[in-house]
């Protein structure tokens, strides 16, 4: 696999301008949001720097705008652009964090089930199927609700991001477990695994050093698709008021806040974060699509 990446990766990539643009957008967003404190013109999560007297300013090109606020301000006087960068950071953190958690759980379950088979496989996969029967958003709501009920309100508010990662991560591992199990079952019967057994390698080494690298392709594709899903899930939860606190809104929470003002002419508070969320999700999907085609030998 690694060899193939070296030979035609750049050629294939550059032949797909859509993917290049998407990848650039993702890179810009990740850099822009990760270093939001550097790039953002204001610090919207620091209440001391927000002035209520600056609220409801339209974007810089509209009448009555203030050049300090390129995309305008919200009802609290927060700079919308800065809030988007900081909010996008939360969205990316949750998206990537939740998928990382899903991948870890899914790979462990999938490898164990696929490699050992039998009863282990049956039990693990039935559990997975039961969870799979429920929509992920419902599972995330459930975990979120349990944590909200069991944690003191102030702790819950402060640990919003880890809680979202946990809730969405726990809701998304089943798909990973299923594809990893399928691949592991295929790999288990391969000659190289038999050879590993023959030379007396311990099972853990066989699974981790030899089987795992061979099943990473589909996991990678799914992970990229799932990041987009996780970002949308987080936005949905926040939109429903279950996510990040009002004072540190993610993109979904910003859209929720903005949606209250749809009829009042203050459109910029909802439109810009909405566009950013849309672009972010579409870009992840397009890149994931390309990676899937690239790794699929049948399409070559």
């Amino acid at each position: 696999m690694l060899e193939r990446i070296r030979s035609d990766f750049w050629y294939e990539l550059l032949n797909s301008p859509v993917t290049v643009v998407s990848a650039v957008i993702i890179a810009l967003m990740i850099i822009g949001c990760t270093f939001a404190p550097v790039f953002a013109p204001h610090t919207p999560f620091d209440p001391a720097t927000i002035s209520i007297m600056d609220n409801n300013m339209p974007p810089a090109w509209a009448d009555g705008a203030d050049p300090r606020f390129l995309l305008g301000t919200d009802l609290q006087g927060r700079d919308v652009l800065s809030a988007m960068l900081y909010g996008g950071r939360i969205s990316l953190q949750v998206g990537i964090g939740a998928v990382a958690l899903s991948v870890v759980i899914g790979m462990i379950v999938g490898l164990v089930a696929g490699y050992f088979g039998g009863m282990t496989d049956a039990v693990l996969m039935r559990v997975a199927e039961i969870q799979f029967a429920f929509p992920p958003i419902l599972i995330a709501l459930l975990f979120n609700g349990i944590l909200k009920a069991s944690l003191p309100a102030d702790v819950f508010a402060q640990a919003a991001v880890p809680i979202m990662i946990l809730a969405i991560g726990l809701a998304g591992w089943v798909q990973f477990a299923r594809i990893v199990r399928a691949s592991a079952m295929v790999q288990r019967g391969q000659d190289y695994v038999t050879a590993c057994h023959a030379i007396g390698l311990p099972t853990v080494t066989i699974i981790l050093r030899h089987i795992t690298p061979n099943i990473l392709g589909p996991v990678l594709v799914l992970a990229m698709l799932q990041i987009a899903v996780a970002i949308v899930t987080e936005a949905t939860l926040s939109f429903l008021g279950l996510g990040t606190p009002l004072t540190e809104p993610s993109l979904g929470a910003l859209i929720q806040i903005g949606s209250q003002y749809l009829f009042s002419g203050i459109w910029w508070v909802v439109i810009f974060p909405g566009i950013m969320l849309l672009v972010m999700v579409v870009a992840f999907n397009l890149v994931a699509d390309w990676v899937r085609d690239y790794l699929n030998p049948r399409l070559r």
């Binding site: 620091d46 209440p47 001391a48 927000i50 002035s51 209520i52 007297m53 609220n55 409801n56 009802l75 609290q76 006087g77 003191p152 309100a153 102030d154 508010a157 402060q158 008021g241 606190p245 009002l246 004072t247 949606s259 209250q260 003002y261 749809l262 009829f263 009042s264 002419g265 203050i266």
Partner: protein, 526 residues
């Protein structure tokens, strides 16, 4: 056809017309940002819940269309002496389940309002005893002459004794325990409307009660839906999905004013918003700070100086509020016109904090509802940023009122910093002293809403004296002096008095009262 047939035919026609076409069915669809917390009329003293239920339950007295106190279940009353009131009950009144209203229901409801889990003990705080003289007469004896007994009784809703006892609802439900009792989801009052269906937070349907003793108006059905998104709320009004939105989100006033077939109805509301600070715990809760900074008057003054209430009015309330100098609206009896606000000044606030030993401020958690008052969540956020400038770091817990109220109410008062407000339903300042400002004495029904736990004994004494003073001028002066003491002590930080703003379909006539009552029998669908 011979003449003989005509008379019965006409009679039959008349009967069938009466059966088929009674008064035309007029449905009024109301939407609001939040729901009534329960259907139990004694469990949660919150204006919206009270006045929603006032369409289903009734009291001895109520405010009429013109905001005057008039007899409701009491036909008439007389003062036998300075302390003894005799109420003659209205004849021929029945509850929604058909049982007949009588004096034992009044006595039962008074017992219930005074029971352990009641949130309405204050309504009978001045009462020494009460008894049924006969089936249709109730006598109330006050501890001392009470000039505003009738105002106090406005909030005392009457339940059916048999119904309550048969359904295990002899006691009000405990709001804090989030009890799910029968009376939380079922109601049996004497009011013009009866509850047909109830799904909390989703939809409540009321129907005009056929056996109502009075004039129930022309509304035959009321569908109430809580909608906690401003844009959804307003689009529901604009599209004709609902007929009345209360309150109308402030940012959408221009949209509704210019909309076809809809109108904005507004008037002054007696609701004063304020910020409360824990003044009873030695250690504030949900904060890393050692001890309780709010016990120091200078800290409370600093917060009053730091919160720019005018900016909140201009920017968050879109100008639909007036600055509060005290914990009252100016039309309430006992309002003190001489009081002024602590001026907005970051520097003064900072130096006061430094004097109090907090030069770098401190950290505190603030509790706030998001669907109870006009723009409550936004007011809290603005407060967070205003306080940040003087170094006070506020962690905001913005929550729906269904979570907010159980957390902050008696007996645990689980907050050390919060946004709340009060409307004196009696339109008299004594109500505010009894509930919000007076030193807590929960067993005697005092200070149930004094969540701050502040205590100014001299003000208590003045309020207690006012409660038994019949001379209106002297009484008003006492209440004004007591208010001055509370303001001086910064028991709470007053913010603003909000404006009552509703959006309605053009064909709906509404009645607005400063206390937020919405007596639907006076509403009209044209």
């Amino acid at each position: 056809m011979s003449k003989n047939y005509i008379a019965p035919l006409v009679a039959a026609l008349a009967v069938s017309t009466a059966l088929v076409a009674p008064a035309q069915a007029e449905t009024l669809r109301i939407a609001s940002q939040g729901d009534a917390t329960s259907l139990d009329p004694h469990s949660h003293n919150e204006s919206f819940t009270n006045y929603f239920l006032a369409n289903v339950y009734e009291g001895l007295v109520a405010r009429d269309k013109d905001f005057e106190i008039a007899g409701q279940l009491a036909q008439s009353w007389e003062q036998v002496d300075a302390k003894t009131w005799r109420f003659t009950l209205r004849d021929g009144v029945s509850f929604h389940d058909g049982s007949v209203f009588a004096a034992d229901d009044v006595i039962f409801s008074m017992d219930r309002a005074l029971s352990e889990t009641s949130n309405f003990k204050h309504v009978l705080a001045s009462v020494e005893s009460y008894s049924a003289i006969d089936d249709m007469t109730v006598e109330v004896v006050t501890k001392a002459p009470n000039p505003i007994l009738l105002n106090d009784l406005l909030d005392l809703m009457i339940l059916d004794k048999q119904w309550s006892e048969a359904n295990g609802a002899a006691m009000p439900i405990n709001l804090q325990a989030e009890e799910k009792a029968y009376s939380a989801t079922n109601a049996n009052g004497t009011g013009p409307f009866q509850v047909v269906s109830r799904a909390q937070g989703e939809k409540t349907t009321l129907a005009a009660f056929d056996g109502y003793w009075g004039d129930a108006g022309n509304v035959t059905e009321v569908v109430f839906t809580p909608i906690n998104n401003a844009a959804t709320l307003v689009s529901a009004l604009l599209s004709g999905e609902v007929d009345l939105v209360m309150p109308l989100p402030l940012q959408d006033i221009p949209r509704v004013e210019n909309g076809a077939g809809v109108k904005v109805v507004s008037s002054a509301e007696a609701r004063t918003m304020y910020i409360g600070m824990d003044q009873w715990r030695d250690q504030i809760i949900e904060s890393p700070v050692e001890g309780n900074p709010f016990l120091d008057l200078r800290v409370r003054q600093a917060i009053a100086h730091a919160v720019d209430a005018q900016a909140i009015i201009d920017r968050v309330m879109q100008g639909q509020a007036t600055l509060a100098t005290q914990y009252l609206m100016d039309k309430v009896n006992g309002y003190n016109p001489d009081l002024t606000r602590l001026e907005y000044s970051v520097d003064t606030a900072k130096s006061l904090l430094a004097e109090a030993g907090y030069p770098d401020g401190f950290e505190v958690t603030m509790d706030c509802s998001t669907d109870r008052y006009v723009n409550d969540g936004q007011i809290c956020q603005a407060t967070v940023s205003l306080l940040a400038r003087v170094g006070i770091k506020v962690n905001l817990i913005a929550q729906p009122k269904a979570q907010f109220f159980p957390k902050v109410v008696a007996p645990d008062f689980g907050t050390s910093f919060f946004l709340l407000s009060w409307t004196p339903s009696t339109m008299d300042a004594l109500n505010v002293f009894q509930n919000v400002l007076g030193t807590r004495d929960l067993e005697n029904g005092k200070g149930a809403w004094n969540i701050s736990g502040c205590s100014v004994p001299e003000a208590d004494a003045l309020a207690a004296e006012a409660a038994v003073t019949m001379d209106a001028t002297a009484r008003e002066k006492m209440l004004q002096d007591a208010m001055a003491l509370m303001v001086e002590d910064v028991c709470l930080v007053p913010l603003h008095v909000q404006q009552l703003v509703w959006g309605a379909a053009e064909n709906i006539d509404v009645v607005q009262h400063p206390t937020f009552e919405f007596p639907l029998e006076y509403f009209n669908v044209n």
